[in-house]
């Protein structure tokens, strides 16, 4: 039971990271490697402000990650828009490395550590099972955020514009969708999602260093590829699958867990062989004309 909950919890965390990446990719066709640093800044802030009430600490972390996301959009990506995907991609690499080095200068190269929400590291008994509070909170929080995101995407004007822009940004603009506003909103939402990811990860791993968010971002990128990069649902599903598989492998491989990534990527290759465009790729859609 704990193993299943852990797998769902890690899957959910990766789903949130993948969703943040997918949102920006949808509107800008940019794989934002600097998403990792949004997770990292949120984690740093959670550690630094851990003596504040959790909600306040998280709000500051979320504001910081959102501000950084918007700042990168306004100062870097907006200026490079239209230069081509390769330049944007290299810029996102550069931004990622630049931010890591900035974190090193500001927070130091050594990990910063503090118990964030220590009450979550405890466990409770349910039906003769010992379950960690962190897993329960993570699963609950992830479900809540995914439902909220589902509502935003499916039932709000912003969500409709995001879906339209993901499908065809040029036409969306011809209809009046304000490109700058929509892209900035996507970065802001991705910042909030990154803050949630930073919070969830830092609770279980309170050792924050400049590359804290890199691993989860790379695996979330794998997730959006296997889920279907053209669909937000696909991104979330792909992220979930990667996290779930990784957690199950880590649990059951025992001493052989060093091979977990090998098995994970083998599973990814198999999925891509069967569904090259990703599980929920647009190729699935029937079109009459």
């Amino acid at each position: 039971m704990q193993a299943v909950l852990d797998a769902i919890s890690l899957g959910g965390t990766y789903a949130l990271a993948a969703l943040g990446l997918g949102l920006v990719f949808g509107v800008l066709k940019l794989v934002n490697f600097a998403h990792a640093e949004l997770i990292t800044i949120a984690a740093y802030i959670m550690v630094i402000t851990n003596d504040l009430p959790l909600v306040v600490s998280f709000l500051i972390a979320a504001l910081s990650a959102t501000a950084l996301a918007v700042l990168t959009e306004l100062t870097v990506y907006r200026r490079l828009r239209g230069t081509g995907p390769a330049i944007m991609l290299i810029a996102s690499f550069g931004l990622s490395v630049g931010l890591q080095k900035s974190f090193e200068l500001i927070f130091g190269a050594l990990p910063r550590s503090a118990a964030v929400a220590p009450w979550m590291t405890g466990s409770i008994e349910m039906a003769n099972l010992n379950i960690t509070i962190a897993s329960l909170v993570t699963v609950g929080l992830t479900i809540f955020i995914l439902l909220a995101m589902g509502y935003l995407v499916d039932y709000t004007t912003l969500g409709l514009q995001l879906r339209a822009a993901s499908a065809d940004f040029k036409t969306a603009r011809l209809l009046g969708v304000r490109s700058n506003r929509l892209i900035t909103s996507s970065f802001a939402i991705s910042g909030v999602l990154a803050a949630f990811v930073g919070f969830i990860v830092v609770v279980e791993n309170p050792q924050v260093e400049p590359m804290f968010g890199l691993n989860i971002t790379i695996l979330a990128l794998v997730g959006i590829v296997i889920g279907g990069i053209s669909s937000l649902r696909g991104c979330a599903l792909g992220g979930f699958i990667v996290g779930f598989i990784l957690s199950v492998l880590n649990t059951y491989l025992g001493n052989a867990r060093v091979y977990a990534y090998s098995y994970l990527f083998m599973a990814v290759v198999i999925i891509l062989l069967v569904r090259p465009g990703g599980i929920l790729s647009k190729g699935n859609e029937m079109e009459r004309v």
């Binding site: 409709l160 339209a164 065809d168 209809l175 009459r288």
Partner: protein, 238 residues
Amino acid sequence: MSLLKVENLCSGYGKVDVLFGISFSLSEGKSLGIVGPNGVGKSTLLKTIAGEIVPKSGVVSLLGEDITGKKPEDIVRLGLSLVPEGRQIFSGLSVTENLLLGLTGRKDKSSSKIALEQVKALFPVLNTHAKHQAGMLSGGQQQQLAISRALLSAPRVLLLDEPSLGLAPNVILDVFEKLKEIIANKTAVVIVEQRAHLVASFADQTIVIRDGQIQATLSSADAKNQELLRGAYFGPGS
């Protein structure tokens, strides 16, 4: 006063020049056809007017306001809407969602509901398929959806790029009948078409573009003269 005025417009893609000094004007409730062989810059002209391409020189005015180089999302709010080539409906979204997107560029949001009812009355088939995925509509229905979506921004000028593309002859006639109703409603319409004769006989005035320049301006009466149209379209000696 002209609703749309284009003066000495030069446009292209990067270092490639496509249009050289295009000028025309269009008044309320009038229609203008734009014809010419493939690759002469007809679609480039519409894209430049609608703000998708920034012109190299020249001026585009809408209702007397200079809109040259403005963003497409701002131009649609000023009253000019483009139905792009190939319709470009959002095939993964429902018909209703496509229509709701059309309201994005509408200034007066209070009349959105009425506007939706009006386009559904003009194209009743959209009501029938409201909840269906737009990609499942037939070509003619998709064209109707694309036109409706553009109309929802309440444009004073409607640009249509190849509205007959891929449609059966009877469906084309249906679409042009609906365009007549739109024009009767005082909207000025610009139609780019490969089917020169069709648009020349439909529009109040037709310009023939070749090599990025206007070669001839024909009235609807001139369109009956096949020789004149052919000569303007293919050039001297055709």
